[in-house]
Amino acid sequence: MNSQTPNETGTVRRHRLSTRLWHWLNAALLYVLFTSGLGIFNAHPRLYWGHYGANLDAAWLEIDRFPGWLTLPALYSLAMSRHWHLAAAPIFAFALLFYMLWSLANRHIVRDLAFRSDDLAPRHIWQDIKDHARLRFPTGDAALRYNVLQKASYIGVIFILLPLIILTGLTMAPGMNAAWPWLVDPFGGRQSARSLHFIAAFALVAFFLVHILMVLLAGPVNEVRSMITGRYRLPEERP
């Protein structure tokens, strides 16, 4: 995403094909994973810390259940929720892996996501926070680069939240417990992993809501088009 001159339609290339494909695949998969995950959670709507945890142990969170309009399927079926969840999960995990490798190879990570030295200057970060709070979105060439808050949230999601949700998901599998017994301990045990899986899912929902809000504020047509066709109209400089 270097400086570009707009073409005859007044747009510039913004998102690579790999980013666009991964984005929409994730939109569909995360939707299925979240709603079927809530369906699975309804089978035992209590969360614990540690290796074990069942009804007679102390739970740190206990709810009645998630309503049917949020779960897949709407009518409680642990078997169907699990089929949806376990079918979508491997696609989601391998898509992330391929996206990471591809983005490493095409230098998307190094060029667009990695912090630059001046990104992390406290003054710059503070300026960015103020700009966000005032909803002053970048214009011209600056709109082609991710700002520091954007970078932080994309790095946080791609390299922390998504791997966390995949690995905690894997540790809940008794088969993986035999294949990779070392995987569960860093999370503090299977029930801790289940709690972290749940927390990460809601952290992703929070990311999604802010993401949608930012798209709406920054110009939804231009933003959505850039994620479909890759082409983006540079916002005009403010006078």
């Binding site: 959670f41 035992h44 945890g53 079926s77 089929h83 809940m172 088969g175 017994p181 709406l216």
Partner: protein
Amino acid sequence: MILTRRTLLLGATATLAGCDRLGRNESVREALFSAENFHRWAQRSLMARDALAQEFRPDQISPIFRANGTANPNTPAYKALWRGGFADWRLPVTGLVTRPLSLSLAQLQAMPHRTQITRHDCVEGWSAIGKWRGVPLKTILEAAGLRDSARYLVFRCADDMGGGRSYYESIDLFDAFHPQTILAYALNDRPLTVANGAPLRLRVERQLGYKQAKYLMGIEAVASLDGIGKGKGGYWEDYAGYDWYAGI
């Protein structure tokens, strides 16, 4: 673009309803159910045949081991066995074996045993850690002489699930000969209670709770699961759509 809470809710509900409809489509169901094959293949590619499920220290045992499913079979036949301290109970080992067996509890308890402190993971999401003692299934299968054509072990149970159907489960040879696959008669150094499957239950530690058949009444070696129940290999597999491979 005006997005109200109402349109968002309607949108979310409509999309979910769409997924729900998809979930009832036969070929979509087939695709979703086939994920089980991927998980079985992937997990077994990643694990050695004898890879052990994690074992724990005595101080990590759950204070109370939650009992789930049938709490008491309560059939006249089971009650009679229980009243007699299971002295009249026998475990037939039949099917594709060269020497069919009929084992009493005393005979099983006299055989070499294995003790393991493992985590029981229910399909619902909870876990309990308990100390099991029992006879490795491998020992019994070797005594019975499994025929080459045998591919699965089917476990028949005493609990009536309604409609005259008793609980049943099955595993394949990959898990049947695993060192941690035992027929357990003791939990936390005491004889199995009725709630936890007295007098004998299966432990197959690399799979979920519904595979750990309780109240064992017989083991049958078979070549295929086709003739068992509705053919999916277990009660919940046949009647609720659970995966036969419960490694995840």
